[in-house]
Subunit: 548 residues, 2 copies
């Protein structure tokens, strides 16, 4: 089933009828007030949809061109459907939509059913001078889904959500690109397989989006990231259909299919894609550990991943460990079990400053035991202590729920955003300190109260790892965008100066564009432009995204 | 130490003073005559260097431009050095050079010492209208090293062979691109590491060549192929220096560094590159097995690789198994051990048509035992039987020696060439039969006697594997190139029609160019052209290679 936009929050995260996860958590708000140095919280609800400002829809002549391709029932012009595709889910996106600014809403939403239809739409758009924004789940947190106003079309791929082929021998599956996470996994599970790609946006994001934004699932240490599981794609371009190479390995020139991963829809619309699949894991084993320090934990992860042990390893720094633990229990009476746990840690010589590591293992039963033991050897060597499965199970259960907190926080004048980067192991500590420092300083300079800055290692590789930062701050009413931009700019500059990647898995969109250009260098940027020009001479696709 | 061309055969393989491996092997010749249906062998030695025809060297004015950049002692114009860079080691290359045709020899050989020198040379060449052919080991078997005559320069990278950095924490090393296999591994071994990339050309090929041709080492199942271990490169282009992305993972647009792998020197000259390294293996364990059939063996390999077991798995088909066994023992009295071995196989129900599988395991001692046992479980399940370590050790010892046979065979009127492809598991048998059939038929149609066609699975992946074909035939005097081209064309057409990649690891050069174009499709080819135009507007670099 395609995503039903009428059941989703047009300016927030998740279903319209989802309960407020902080509704009955006075203690959590109390803890937050203390952490942010706030005396009280404002009341800053989102404006109702009726107050939203939209640009006018496309003119009749253009609508007629599009209807001639897909039929009138698949060209939507009503305000609600256009507003739903005005923006993605970045901090500025949410702020603007909540304030009723839907001026980036497209002039129409078109729902194609096939690659050929997309080509025809692109050619019509080229002729009419319209911009086309491919739209899947619309969950981009970097401005990758921003619409282009009246003279643009949101090309909503979510009706293209079929499993086209599953080859058990080759362990590959081909899906239309608009299929969302739950539907894709359901189709695979029914045949005994999984892709295993589960980013935090899993419930709402699509296969095409995962590939276009070069995404990583939380278990990429086991299942690989998009670049690892992607095999081939069929793309619709204004020039026609581009089918990328389709071999397990190939030395006939550079692998052009790799350009599709991270291509963000400027090199063609991904219509369908083939991915590597694996048997549904027999066993899932998630556990918690405490490490005496962030650097000791990172060292353990490095040793595990360099030994080739497939695992999810998620290490929170001291501040994240402390905040999450406080936020989830404050105002509740700590359970006997928790109090005993703290006494145990104390007896084992752990100070209050320790780091939580969540490790996950998936696969065939005995193999899971083997890899867990291999990982635990390194964790113990780094001074780590096992907390058991309940901590891991709880993390697993709540693994997609982090973003649910954004709406209630924004309702009370609290800003929250995340950003991420990656670097080599030998540079990890330097990058960690530089970005934390930049976030803390820029929040302090531009916000009432104090900021909260938390970090975890989310994905790791033989030569390095990613760092994922979550930060909370009190918003400056009326200046929310300027305040956010100052923080984002300071953090991005710190990332670049300290040798980090501007993004590990969020993508470029519009927010990371200037930094991407620095990263690619002038020759790299011109190569990107030359490729785009080849497939899309007039720049119909996603103008302003990825490439300036 | 850079490769000393004066000690290498300019028109053959290996050192000038290497012994003839078939010199005292009358039995092998007898076996070969029988296999090829020959009554006798011709005497067709290579012409001496003195008989070689070369184009004139570059004119003084151009030489002066180049000498101004690198100094006169690093601009070579003597016939020998130019003839050494006239061609690579493909079948047509060897035939033409042996016949004294060195008309593709460059007008000069330039030996740069730095990235900046290469940029300056490229800019001088652009100004003077000269073509530049990057030259490493010159071992291309697909015409990737063919020179361009008087108005071209061979840019010999082999003086750029230093280790620039080795980071033990990150497990990465950065080398200048002209370093050859033995020197690279020696530098790493001295610090306890290995790259593990060992193609059959290992002794003579260079890091830059491995990357540019998208190579695979024999142990790519353990250490990965070039695309897997390549991290980043610094390239010299006529526009200046292009440094590709340098992160363990990155979502800031498509990974442009991936274009360098398989770029064949048309997107810039690889000046240095960073690669992933691993600890020198504590243990190497190579073993032989027999499988009842090629399809049973392939099935075992598929199960091993899909279970994620890192191993080298090299499966010969029945014809290759039989030929290699006969060729190596014919005319010798079979040893008692061999006769006992055959009796054993017979007793275990194996017919004479069985397949040899060489499996190799490398790494930490206990881990090697574990992965070998995992592989052996699948081999046994497929009806396989262990032959023990001596077969494996012998294969390992001789793993670089296959090409040594080409010169003595060509000396006796016997043509030998190899080609390779890759496809999905579910298509492997179809591709195997199609290519074998095309090779056998085209040899039969154009050659005296019969052909010998042998196949092995050389590299495997979760979704498919490569097939490597070796074929021998009696040459048609005076029509050697036409005869070879008919075979190559028939095999290439069969590969394409049966859904195979035109090359798994040999690269494109000039021989695979038309097939590469079919593989990439019109949009793909134009993307390649657009990228080249961006970095090299006038097409100075490697004209005629990779892209038409």
């Amino acid at each position: 089933m395609a995503i039903d936009r009428t059941r989703q929050r047009w300016q927030g995260w998740g279903p319209i009828d989802a309960p407020d996860p902080l509704g009955d958590r006075a203690g959590a708000w109390e803890y937050l007030a203390q952490a942010l140095g706030a005396t009280s919280f404002a009341t800053t609800p989102a404006l109702p949809f009726e107050a939203a400002m939209l640009p006018p829809p496309l003119e009749e002549a253009d609508l007629a061109r599009l209807s001639a391709v897909v039929g009138g029932d698949r060209v939507l012009t009503d305000s609600f459907h256009r507003a739903c595709r005005a923006r993605g889910k970045s901090y500025p996106d949410l702020h603007l939509l909540r304030s009723g600014d839907a001026m980036t809403a497209p002039g129409a939403v078109v729902l194609p059913n096939s690659t050929d239809e997309i080509v025809a739409i692109l050619q019509q758009a080229e002729g009419a001078g319209l911009a086309v924004i491919p739209f899947g789940g619309g969950t981009s947190v970097v401005g990758g889904a921003t619409g282009g106003g009246t003279r643009s079309i949101a090309l909503d791929l979510t009706r293209m959500d079929r499993l086209l082929d599953l080859n058990e021998t080759d362990r590959t599956a081909t899906f239309e690109a608009g299929i969302d996470g739950p539907a894709l996994e359901a189709a695979l599970h029914a045949r005994g397989f999984t892709l295993g790609h589960a980013p935090q946006s899993f419930l709402y994001s699509t296969l095409g989006g995962w590939i276009a934004a070069s995404g990583s699932g939380q278990q990429s240490g086991i299942y690989g990231r998009a670049a690892d599981w992607f095999v081939r794609a069929e793309l619709a371009t204004p020039r026609g259909v581009w089918r990328t190479e389709s071999f397990p390995a190939n030395a006939a020139g550079p692998w052009l299919g790799r350009l599709v991963v991270g291509g963000e829809g400027v090199f063609g619309v991904i219509a369908n894609a083939t991915v590597r699949i694996r048997p549904t894991p027999e066993t899932r084993d998630y556990r918690g550990y405490v490490l005496p320090s962030f650097s000791a934990g990172a060292e353990a992860i490095r040793n595990v991943v360099q030994a080739g042990v497939p695992a999810m390893l998620r290490l929170s720094d001291e501040d994240e460990t402390k905040f999450l633990s406080g936020f989830s229990t404050f105002g509740r009476r700590p359970s006997l079990r928790r109090r005993l746990g703290e006494a145990y840690l104390h007896a084992r010589g752990f100070s209050r400053n320790f780091c939580l590591l969540i490790a996950g293992f998936e696969g065939e039963g005995r193999e899971v035991v083997r890899v867990r033991r291999a990982a635990e050897t390194e964790i113990r060597r780094a001074g780590g202590l096992a907390l058991g499965r309940s901590v891991g199970d709880r993390w697993y259960e709540r693994r997609f729920h982090g973003p649910d907190l954004r709406d209630p926080l924004l309702d009370r004048g609290v800003g929250v955003d995340t950003l991420e980067t990656a670097t080599r192991w030998s540079n990890l500590q330097r990058l960690y300190e530089a970005v934390r420092g930049a976030l803390a300083a820029s929040i302090a300079a531009g916000s009432p109260g104090r900021g909260v800055v938390m970090t975890h290692v989310s994905h790791s590789y033989p030569e390095g790892a990613s760092l994922y930062f979550t930060f909370l701050f009190l918003r400056r009413p009326g200046e929310e965008i300027a305040q956010w931009r100052a923080i984002k700019t300071a953090a991005s500059a710190a990332i670049m100066d300290a040798g980090g990647a501007i993004t590990h898995h969020h993508g470029v969109g519009v927010d990371h564009l200037p930094w991407m250009m620095r990263e690619k260098g002038p020759i790299g940027v011109e190569i990107l432009r030359a490729i785009r020009k080849t497939v899309d001479a007039k720049g119909v696709l996603n103008p302003g995204k990825l490439i300036p």
